[in-house]
């Protein structure tokens, strides 16, 4: 209570009760993230990675396909800061270009899978009964197939390629988000504010979008950001068995897969893409954690 009153006092200095100056939701969230150092670091690194992906052609010293067969497997030097791979391609340029594929495949397939999952999870949790049963049994079937096998199967059916592997990997993200959202909805289903929403004539979609999702999405946000890292690695796996992104497109996972035979003699080929996967996953996780806290009014300090 005290901080509310204090807030009220500080507001009264600048405005009378009649001036209804309001802050946008986004502004409040941005302010809270700025106050949280770990989330801010995550956000900054994420922005840097995205900028790197967008401006790859301007940053990269070489083209990602450019081979220099006179200079293969060379250790990091001034000319090739991350060294070269077995075909004499500049690892740094490939890492920079690779961020385009790795990041977008990770983020987009999780977004797609989670959106689909949330849609069905919300329906299952809110309506319950037969609808719930049908959706959950379907999810059971989906979940009974190992994620890797599922991604491989879908990739085989759809054929290799960037867009198809994204689709294949997004299916793996569906069951978890359906279950998480449904479980949290079951937890708040008896709350009276949902009944209140019905009594003030809120329609179903409004109840789900304005009252249920904001109160249940926190676990999904956290698991979603965790899943991005997992998906980046799965994308690497798909590329490795030739079903994902096709060479010579650089993708962090496939770069690691390609360099693994040389890990003893030329560790730089696998190390640098590995570091970038780690940075990407870590910054997304930190940002996701901070975002969850920033969106929760109760954690406001």
């Amino acid at each position: 209570m005290d901080d509310v009153l204090e807030m009220g006092r500080s507001m009264n200095k600048n405005e009378t009760a009649e001036t209804w100056k309001r802050q946008s939701q986004l502004g409040i969230v941005a302010k809270r993230i700025a106050k949280n150092p770990t989330a801010l670091i995550g956000f900054i690194f994420l922005v840097l990675l995205v900028l790197m992906a967008v401006f790859a052609p301007y940053i990269a010293p070489y083209d990602y396909t450019e081979q220099n067969l006179m200079n293969t497997r060379s250790a990091p030097s001034l000319e090739n800061p991350f060294g070269t791979d077995e075909l004499g391609r500049d690892v740094m340029s490939r890492v920079i270009y690779g961020s385009r594929y790795s990041l977008s495949i990770g983020i987009l397939s999780v977004l797609l899978g989670t959106s689909i999952g949330m849609f069905f999870g919300a329906i299952a949790g809110y309506f319950g009964g037969t609808v719930d049963n049908i959706i959950m049994r379907f999810i059971d079937i989906l979940q009974s197939i190992p994620g890797t096998l599922l991604a491989i199967t879908v990739s085989v059916v759809l054929g290799p390629g960037y867009f198809n592997s994204m689709l294949a990997l997004s299916i793996g993200a569906i069951p978890m988000s359906v279950r998480l959202l449904r479980a949290s909805i079951l937890g708040i289903r008896g709350e009276e504010y949902l009944e209140a929403a019905t009594s003030i004539n809120a329609r179903t979609h409004r109840i789900i979008l304005r009252h249920i999702i904001p109160n249940t999405f926190a676990p999904i946000l956290v698991s979603g950001t965790m899943m991005i890292g997992h998906v980046i690695l799965s994308a690497a796996m798909l590329s490795f068995i030739g079903l994902g992104i096709q060479p010579p497109m650089p993708e962090w996972g496939s770069m690691i897969a390609g360099g693994r035979n040389l890990i003893r003699s030329c560790p730089h080929i696998v190390t640098f893409p590995g570091i970038f996967i780690m940075i990407a996953v870590l910054s997304i996780n930190l940002f996701g954690d901070g975002l969850r806290d920033a969106l929760d009014p109760k954690l406001k300090k």
Binding site: E192, E195, P297
Partner: protein, 318 residues
């Protein structure tokens, strides 16, 4: 026409794995415009279910509801939306009845937004007016529910219910989750709002001193049945049903010289699932006889005083 809302033989049954639960069974009453009907009874007697059924938050299983003389028992969704603007509910638990992620302003404004009758500027003004009306400081408009105390939260809930100027409000134990000093504030607020907005209340509670303070008429419920109904004064002066007597004897008195005769009830509440016909209170009533296991009727004993007990005259020497 004085009557605002009338229930006739209203029933609400729930299907459970063990049978049919008779939460509200064959209840008839009416509430006059601008009056307060108190509904009392112990926990689980179906009084909250009755309130929710009256305003169509639950679909009734039988009987009819008339609102302003019109049969509104079965209405299509368009009509229901209109009806709901006139019938609102104030919830018991102010911690669960407010969305934790919506500010005070958003919560009160939502019914205005949904009704679609206001543009954005009017909505903001109207919200400010409602906040003044229910006594929430305007500077709290951007606060979240967890930052407010129980009394203020309940005021927000009242503000949301009153936003669209309803005529009939079900108060579902609106003060039982608050401490006593706040209870009085909220009760006074409800009474002030009743006279300024010409509201009709159905006041559901288990707190007899509260119901005595606020109600014009009282219904006493026991396990889904209406056992006694009359004016508030009459009920406290002259309770006739054995259950009402037991209930009233449990009210503590501030007068230490008054000898209180406490009626201690024995036995367990019978299950509301697949109940037998007859008086539901029979298993705990000391006056029980063979006739009590026949179906009981609500009989008018004195003008405006009805009791559902076949032995009421013998017991009370009438």
């Amino acid at each position: 026409m004085a009557e605002l809302i009338k229930a006739t033989n209203l029933k609400k049954y729930f299907e459970t794995p063990r049978g049919t639960l008779h939460a509200v069974d064959d209840i008839s009453f009416s509430i006059d415009r601008g009056k307060t009907m108190g509904v009392v009874g112990e926990s689980g007697c179906g009084k909250s279910t009755l309130g929710r059924t009256m305003i169509h938050l639950l679909e009734s299983s039988g009987g009819t509801i008339h609102f302003e003389g019109e049969d509104v028992t079965r209405v299509n969704s368009g009509k229901l939306r209109k009806l709901r603007e006139n019938m609102q509910i104030i919830f018991q638990d102010p911690y669960s009845s407010l969305n934790p992620r919506m500010t005070v302003e958003q919560t009160i404004m939502e019914p205005l937004t949904i009704s679609g009758r206001f543009n954005k500027r009017d909505r903001i003004q109207e919200t400010a007016r409602i906040m003044d009306m229910v006594g929430i400081d305007r500077r709290l408009r951007l606060s979240y529910p967890h930052e407010l105390d129980g009394g203020r939260r309940q005021r927000v809930g009242i503000g949301r219910a009153l936003a669209l100027n309803p005529k009939f409000i079900v108060c579902d134990e609106p003060v039982s989750a608050l401490d006593v000093s706040i209870q009085a504030q909220i009760l006074n607020l409800l009474q002030d709002l009743q006279s300024s907005n010409e509201l009709t209340y159905m006041f559901v509670t288990h707190d007899l001193s509260v119901v005595r303070h606020i109600s014009d008429d009282i219904c006493v419920m026991y396990l889904g049945h209406l056992v006694e109904t009359c004016s508030s004064k009459e009920l406290f002066r002259n309770p006739l049903h054995p259950y009402t007597k037991a209930l009233l004897s449990a009210v503590p008195s501030a007068n230490i010289h008054k000898q209180q005769q406490r009626v201690i009830l024995e036995g367990e509440i019978t299950s509301p699932i697949n109940p037998k016909p007859g008086c539901r209170f029979a298993s705990r009533c000391k006056f029980v006889k063979e006739d009590c296991h026949q179906a009981q009727k609500l009989v008018e004993i004195a003008p405006g005083h009805s009791v559902s007990c076949c032995r009421v005259k013998e017991i009370n020497n009438l």
